[in-house]
């Protein structure tokens, strides 16, 4: 690509003064010195040059300062998987306690901490971050660009997430972990009924993850809308990118609601504002509205990226694009919109007007339509294609068998009369684990197996992968299917024990056995991941013969992703161009630069310089983290702590003299 501002009609006619012409000639000489990729600079020479421009400083400083989306994405994924393992250990502890009736292994208060930590860790520290982490890693590769937008904000987002997770778990280890449930209903979480600091730790962890998720969402939405390879129109954009676009917008609209709620809770606890205190003209139910206005979209924020994974895997292993691409895209968008209209179905027992409930029943059932259409499209893809039952595809099949049960029980509990019985029982526990594990974790493990060679350069073991899948699939059914019956037999959620004689012994024992089988499967998956890092077969750029752009570069990708920016002409570029992809050239290689394209048609728009690695995002995250943690103890932390934040942010955003040669413009 060349940006030429000369040759405009009319200007040539004008008489150009002598000095101006001399200046123009000088600038033209300077422009020639700028290194760009192109016919004269390609191959190994270009790659060496790009490597020099894009690599980050070495050492611990460089590690903290990096703005490489792949490094940040990797950290996000690994951190989130560690939290998954920790949350899983808590689940095993709970299942051990519940294996027998009237068990005294774990005390009531400890058990309450366990389920609070399990829910909070899985929702806030695992499920959302792992989706964002994978997107941060893969999306720029999939879109054929060199970086995410706002790479420093991306780094900031990771550190905020890490600090929030560390705070929660350090508090738990120090026995000040929260015990108010992941939903923290007021007034139980208020100052009167939760004295001490446990509830504050929970509320501030929410604040950390809100900031992190919002930052990551802004990064992803901008990346998807503005940095796609030329020719990748919205219609040709991969479905995973579509899913993440919808999810990013959903995060931007839903997180402020929980930010408001947790902010009000903190100020109730810290300075006695009484927002949620019914005895001082506050309202206990207000919390539930604000929380579920976020909390329900949250479920789709976790689920929609997983549908993106399913589409990616189905396309590659059925050897054809997903059937009815447009329908799937419309389903994603309508799910994203409907998700904001059903939060009251978490509150059917609170005694709101009955007519209002009918609306939320209908809305909750309506959301089954786009999901049902997506399921049809995946099944039609299998029908039309020639499915290869590799491990990622097994996870997709497991996903459909499992998730559809969760979706159908979701339809059951959308009905008010049924929900009034089933609400807050183990039937609900079964339902949402079918939806979240079947609907999100199965595709996640499939996609990790699928993208593992891209990220590490090696394949995961097929045998271990298959053993792990079957153990997980069967163990999951054993653990969670009996929970439907526990619920129907009258077992409420969040109880640390249950009496003998209600018929709950057998289903609970089976659930516990199943939970340990699932744990075994996870251990096998982890072993597979670690061993394959050293022993796995070398993958090569495109081991699955997939069609999307992340497979057009080497595995693992170089720091600059692509030597030349590819041009896209269909929605399956690597299948339709078996030779070399067409590329655009002309980006600078002596400075970090990326190509911005237009939002809809993805025609080249601008060349955008990218910031270098910087410590300021890390320092800013530290400053913000200190305020969040210290404000648990004193409102004055806000007054004094804002100063370091202001300094750090000012330094981060300080307008810098461009070190690089400014682009000369010829008049």
């Amino acid at each position: 690509m060349t940006t030429r501002a000369d040759g405009l009609p009319g200007f040539a006619e004008q008489r150009i003064p002598e000095q101006v012409r001399e200046e123009d000639e000088r600038l033209a000489r300077e422009r020639k010195q700028i290194a760009r990729d192109g016919p004269k600079l390609k191959g190994a020479k270009l790659e060496a040059r790009l490597e020099r421009t894009w690599r980050r400083p070495t050492g611990i400083i460089g590690w903290l300062a990096t703005v490489d989306h792949k490094e940040i994405g990797r950290r996000y994924i690994i951190t989130a998987l560690i939290f998954l393992a920790l949350g899983g250990v808590l689940a095993l502890a709970m299942r051990t306690q519940l294996a027998r009736p009237d068990s005294n292994l774990i005390s009531a208060s400890r058990y309450n901490e366990l389920f609070t930590m399990h829910g909070s860790t899985m929702m806030f520290l695992f499920a959302v971050p792992v989706m964002e982490g994978i997107a941060v890693y893969i999306i720029p590769l999939m879109l054929g660009t060199r970086s995410t937008a706002f790479p420093r904000l991306n780094a900031f987002s990771y550190f905020m997430y890490l600090f929030g997770g560390l705070m929660l778990w350090i508090a738990f280890v120090l026995n000040v972990g929260p015990d108010i449930g992941w939903f923290a209903y007021t007034p139980l979480s208020g100052p009167q009924f939760s004295p001490g600091k446990r509830a504050d730790v929970w509320a501030q962890m929410i604040t950390f993850t809100e900031v992190a998720a919002l930052a990551a969402a802004v990064v992803l939405v901008t990346t998807i809308l503005k940095t796609r390879a030329p020719g990748m129109t919205l219609a040709r954009m991969p479905l995973f990118a579509w899913a993440m676009l919808v999810v990013g917008v959903m995060i931007i609209f839903s997180m402020p609601s929980v930010a408001l709620a947790s902010g009000m809770l903190i100020s109730d606890r810290l300075v006695g504002t009484n927002f949620f205190n019914a005895y001082e003209h506050g309202d206990a139910l207000l919390w539930q509205h604000l929380f579920w206005f976020f909390g329900h979209p949250e479920v789709y924020i976790i689920f929609l990226p997983a549908t993106g994974f399913v589409s990616v895997i189905t396309e590659t292993f059925c050897r054809r694009p997903v059937f009815a691409h447009t329908v799937v895209v419309l389903a994603l968008i309508s799910t994203g919109i409907l998700a904001f209209g059903l939060w009251v179905h978490h509150m059917f027992a609170t005694g709101l007007p009955r007519v209002g409930y009918s609306f939320y029943t209908s809305a909750s059932m309506t959301v089954a339509i786009p999901t049902g259409l997506q399921i049809f499209c995946w099944l039609a893809t299998m029908w039309e294609g020639r499915p290869r039952l590799a491990v990622p595809m097994l996870y997709v099949i497991g996903f459909i068998i499992t998730f559809v049960i969760g979706g159908l029980t979701g339809v059951i509990i959308a009905a008010v009369p049924l929900d009034l019985q089933l609400h807050d029982t183990y039937f609900i526990v079964a339902h949402f684990h079918y939806v979240l594990i079947g609907g999100a974790v199965f595709p996640l493990l499939g996609i990790i197996t699928y993208w593992y060679p891209k990220i590490t350069g090696r394949m995961m073991s097929d045998t271990l992968g298959k053993i792990g899948f079957w153990m997980l699939f069967l163990g999951f059914q054993l653990a969670f299917f009996p929970m439907h019956f526990s619920g129907l037999l009258g077992m409420p959620r969040r109880v640390y024990t249950y009496p003998a004689g209600l018929g709950l012994e057998l289903p609970n024992l089976l659930s516990t056995i199943g939970a340990f089988v699932v744990a075994g499967a996870v251990v096998i998956f982890v072993i597979n991941g670690i061993v394959s890092l050293y022993r796995g077969a070398i993958a090569g750029p495109n081991p699955w013969d997939a069609a999307s752009l992340e497979w057009a570069t080497s595995s693992p990708p170089p720091v600059y992703n692509f030597a030349h920016i590819p041009v896209v002409e269909t929605n399956t570029p690597l299948w339709d161009n078996r030779g070399e992809l067409p590329v655009v050239t002309g980006l600078r290689v002596d400075e970090k630069e990326m190509l911005l394209t237009t939002v809809v048609a993805a025609t080249p728009d601008l060349r955008e310089p990218l910031p270098a690695a910087s410590l300021w995002p890390f320092i800013s995250a530290c400053a913000v983290g200190i305020v969040f943690v210290t404000s648990i103890f004193s409102p004055w932390a806000l007054a004094f702590g804002l100063l370091p934040i202001a300094i750090a942010l000012t330094a981060w955003f300080w307008p810098k003299e461009l070190k690089r040669t400014p682009e000369p413009v010829i008049q």
């Binding site: 294609g385 009369p417 109880v495």
Partner: protein
């Protein structure tokens, strides 16, 4: 929930197991008009969902199995990956229509079931105030005649066939009233009044339990509901209105003295005695109840000893302190409490 061999095999032991438990706390208890409607609606939903699930699984098996037969497919290897079968597009529309019709049908069924359940609440004959506390239930039977107003705790008696309106309040955090055999849930929210109407159809003993997480001992906040004939109900009410009997034996007299003048009376009321605290459950007819500490243990001498001596080890975190009674005091107190029939 779904008809498939593995699930059916799994379901069998639960269902047979459940039958032998007399549905003490199960939503199959079917002991009130509302839960009967629940069961009908639940079966309709299960049937529709089972059909949908069967369709999905059949399509999945067909899609996976088909590859072995077909020689040509719309895949990249055959160079036809951008093509698709027009029949599939018809199928997509048909599928959308089936899903849509199914959901509309279920929504209508749900709406009418909900409406008929709500209209059952028309004319109550008996009014009860039920107040949730961490972690016990305060019960008050209302009567137009103020002298017949009755306060008790953790146990309800309801007459068969009489519509009962239960007004729900909370003294602290959010609780939820749930007796699965009789009715769905209704939350008890501080600062908001709500109510639920029940028409019990079958006599029996039903167990309910707080269904909204309410703090440390959420698991031990049960409510026993005795559904009895109207005559038995009136007999029970009259008996409960009686003050506690005066202690006769020296041991129970010592217990009476300790309970009514010692720390117990600061929180508990015993009708007809100076003990008039209102923080804890009313103890007037404690020994006539089926359980101790909101369903934590069955009523009995040994459990009473355990509870009075150290409530914090039986139900850790509850608001009744461990007093540290001398053995002689403990014997006396338990002996007296056992007379509160």
């Amino acid at each position: 929930m779904i008809v498939r061999p593995r699930a059916a095999v799994l379901a069998l032991p639960f269902l047979t197991g459940a039958c032998s438990y007399q549905h003490y706390q199960s939503i199959y208890g079917n002991a009130a008009a509302e839960t009967q409607q629940f069961n009908t609606l639940f079966i309709i939903f299960l049937a529709v969902c089972a059909v949908m699930y069967a369709a999905v699984i059949a399509f999945l098996i067909a899609g996976i199995g088909r590859r072995r037969r077909s020689t040509q497919a719309n895949v990249v290897e055959d160079g036809r990956h951008h093509e698709s079968d027009p029949a599939m597009h018809v199928g997509l529309r048909a599928w959308a229509a089936v899903v849509g019709v199914g959901l509309v049908g279920l929504a209508i069924a749900s709406f009418f079931a909900d409406r008929s359940m709500a209209s059952a609440a028309a004319n109550e004959k008996l009014s009860i105030d039920l107040t949730g506390n961490q972690w016990w239930w305060d019960v008050q039977y209302n009567s137009a005649d103020a002298s017949k107003t009755l306060r008790t705790a953790n146990e309800l008696y309801l007459p068969v066939g009489v519509p009962v309106r239960i007004n729900l309040h909370s003294n602290d955090v959010i609780h939820s009233f749930w007796v699965p055999s009789l009715a769905g849930k209704q939350d008890l929210i501080p600062g908001r009044d709500s109510d639920i109407t029940i028409v019990p159809k079958k006599s029996g003993i039903y167990r309910g339990q707080c269904a909204e997480y309410c703090g440390t001992q959420h698991a031990h906040m049960a409510l026993v509901v005795n559904v009895v004939s109207y005559a038995d109900f009136i007999k029970w009410w009259d008996h409960q209105l009686q003050p506690a009997p005066a202690p006769a034996a020296p041991l129970t007299q010592a217990g009476y003295k300790y309970v009514t003048t010692g720390p117990c009376s600061a929180c508990h009321t015993i009708g007809g005695t100076p003990a008039g605290g209102t923080v804890g459950p009313d103890l007037t007819h404690l020994a006539s109840r089926r359980s101790i500490a909101a369903g934590t243990m069955p009523m009995g001498e040994g459990n009473l000893y355990g509870w009075v001596e150290d409530p914090q080890s039986v139900k850790p975190g509850n608001h009744m302190p461990t007093i540290g009674l001398e053995p002689a005091q403990l014997h006396a107190v338990v002996a007296y409490l056992e007379t509160l029939k």
